[in-house]
Subunit: 397 residues, 2 copies
């Protein structure tokens, strides 16, 4: 060990000598989304230990808030300490064992991502494909269940690359008749579109903290039905990933009525922020929250129509549109990149572009949580109108 | 969907109706650790998107800060969006394929945890055990390498259940002579004890954000040597976990000179806080930081001696003590639980108890980052003295 910085192999970087300076933006793409000031302030609270009584109390409150948001009495309802992608991988890797069959609905990006993960974990994947923007029907699902007798069926409630809504009612009992579990990705929908975990017999549902719940990104709320837990308890070998093995993690969250055990050092600042976000979320009746999102989406559809700029919705059937996120087809004469650039640089408003198979073909307007209100809808309509009519040309940047 | 809350299956929880009220504590156990106010304030900055230019700039600054902290020029240096436990699992699952042999040093809790993870990922694990508080010698390592010809040797620099320091110099070249990679857990040591990734030829090193770097918990900084990347590129099958497959995640962090790709929605508030923590960290010369930790530890050892309460160090050989964390044997007449309870409830100071094999046998005093200074050492000595001499009895609580 030397006495001066000359002896170091790598010098201190100059980039870290200046303080952070960040702009404020209205995040109205597919997420993450702006958080309420109360939620942001929680990110500045002092650090607490992972087994402190205050931390455990906050975890219990989060669990109750999530049971409300998921509409479930599942005791195994908790938060994974990772992004929503970890929720997807945790769902699949807890349920699947090598050689199991997984039927995965694909109508955009997320089914492919789930198929990639399930394959890595050793499952045999069957894709159940539908055209972009169209959900899987009960009939198609039954055909796949009967033919492949899978361990699970994987559905995405809101396919955020198209903004299509997958109806979920009826799929739970159907899966159970064929001995399969129903795994649902509710990342871009939970809290903004109706979801009834228990009533619809969903077995594993996960979401991300940063969408309609309006917390910072970094946590993946998840719930497991008793039927899912029965399957997990019957595994021949433990889940291949310790970090999200719910049989171990569930003891940290007090899900099994046993003493708490240390599983990992929890991201306490994110827990505190999510707790505050859930407190705000639960202060409005959930049915009113869903209605507010539906009303905001309808106001957006009507407003797009009134703009008269040839903006039509990507999802044609009104029953298959997600209230939280709306994909709008890019008219032939419009350069989407310059529109998005104008919205963010002139107005400070982020509108999303396409993703995966829809890249360059759509705009995506998010009305998650705090943004699901008439004033914000009218604002984003004005921003979109100006950005299409008066785009900043690339040469002026 | 109904119109009123009566129609819900699960009502809004009463526990979320009150605002958060949390105490301030001095966290002087094994971590997490208190953060600088500048770091905490960063947790309240507005949310940014995962591909925004400001986010990418912050990621680049974090990478440079971590290359400094790890003392490495490895291009594949980044942060996993999970706790330090995820760093352990990512190290093992990126390098190991089913059937590979892993030699894992065990001298407390963490080697067993690593062995559990490696087994889940299909490796054949050989334990290299030493008595509690004693490191692995080069000779013992060479014997194991020669006998088992493993894919990797796993060492823990600071075994936090005993506070023992594992010397690392010489192990890299030794592993490489036997065709093995050297994986190092530096969770409880990085930033407080000397570690030279490149100079010592360490192949994978990871840590946690919440220890001597003094950021909030929730991120696992990690670095991969070119030799490790060569091995990973030669895998027959991809890493079984998408979430921390460094071949995909590395593209989000711009490690391979290719265009950035979206991998997951990053926990931006944690990134901002770690960026600020690294800015503070890099403003002191690293050699001075290491010396400050060594001086604080020595002052603690001397002070414990002067207290005259029969407090002796768990690790007998001074060369094998970690400056960041000090395990103190509980004297025979002392009830450790009541001492720890007195320290936290009367003084607001968290001192750690034992962990795993040392539970009930030791106190653990952490001097990580902001706490590695003479005033704090003297404070924790006074608190320990009072808590031993005048413990609150359980009946008074």
């Amino acid at each position: 060990m030397g006495d001066n910085r000359e002896r170091l192999d790598v010098a201190a970087p100059a980039s870290l000598r200046t303080p952070l300076r960040l702009p404020h933006k209205a995040l109205m793409g597919a997420g993450p989304v702006n958080a309420d000031p109360r939620v942001l302030l929680a990110g500045s609270l002092p650090i607490l230990g992972h087994m402190h009584p205050e931390t455990i109390a906050v975890m219990d409150e989060i669990k109750e808030g999530l049971q409300y948001a998921f509409q479930t009495k599942n005791p195994v309802t908790l938060c994974l300490s990772c992004a929503g992608h970890g929720g997807m991988e945790a769902s699949l890797s807890n349920v699947l064992e090598p050689g199991d069959v997984a039927v995965i609905a694909v109508s955009g990006l997320w089914g492919h991502r789930a198929a990639d993960m399930a394959t890595r974990h050793g499952a045999r994947v069957v894709l159940l494909e539908t055209p972009l923007g169209q959900p899987v029907s009960l009939e198609a699902a039954e055909e796949a269940l009967a033919k492949h007798r899978p361990r699970l069926l994987f559905l995405v409630q809101c396919e955020s690359s198209t903004s299509a809504l997958q109806p979920l009612e009826g799929f739970g009992p159907l899966c159970h008749r064929y001995g399969a579990l129903l795994v649902v990705d509710a990342v871009a929908s939970l809290g903004g579109a109706p979801l009834w975990t228990d009533r619809w017999e969903l077995d594993v549902v996960y979401t991300g903290s940063q969408k309609a719940l309006n917390a910072p990104p970094g946590l993946a709320p998840i719930t497991f039905s008793p039927r899912a837990m029965q399957r997990i308890e019957a595994r021949k070998k433990p889940c291949s990933v310790y970090y999200w093995d719910v049989r171990v993690l569930g003891d940290y969250w007090g899900c099994f009525g046993r003493p708490r055990i240390y599983h990992h050092t929890c991201p306490i600042t994110l827990f505190l922020a999510l707790r505050e976000a859930l407190a705000i979320f639960a202060s409005e009746s959930l049915t009113a929250t869903w209605r507010r999102h539906a009303d905001a989406a309808q106001r957006l559809y009507d407003g797009l129509d009134r703009l008269g700029l040839g903006l039509s919705l990507f999802v044609e059937d009104p029953r298959h549109r997600t209230p939280t996120l709306t994909a709008v087809k890019v008219p032939p004469s419009v350069d989407p990149a310059s529109v998005l650039r104008t919205a963010i640089s002139r107005h400070g408003v982020e509108i999303g572009g396409g993703l995966g198979p829809t890249a360059g073909r759509i705009f995506r307007i998010g009305l998650f949580g705090v943004h699901a209100n008439p004033m914000t809808v009218d604002m984003v309509l004005r921003v979109l109108e100006d950005s299409i009519k008066n785009p900043i040309s690339v040469s002026k940047l």
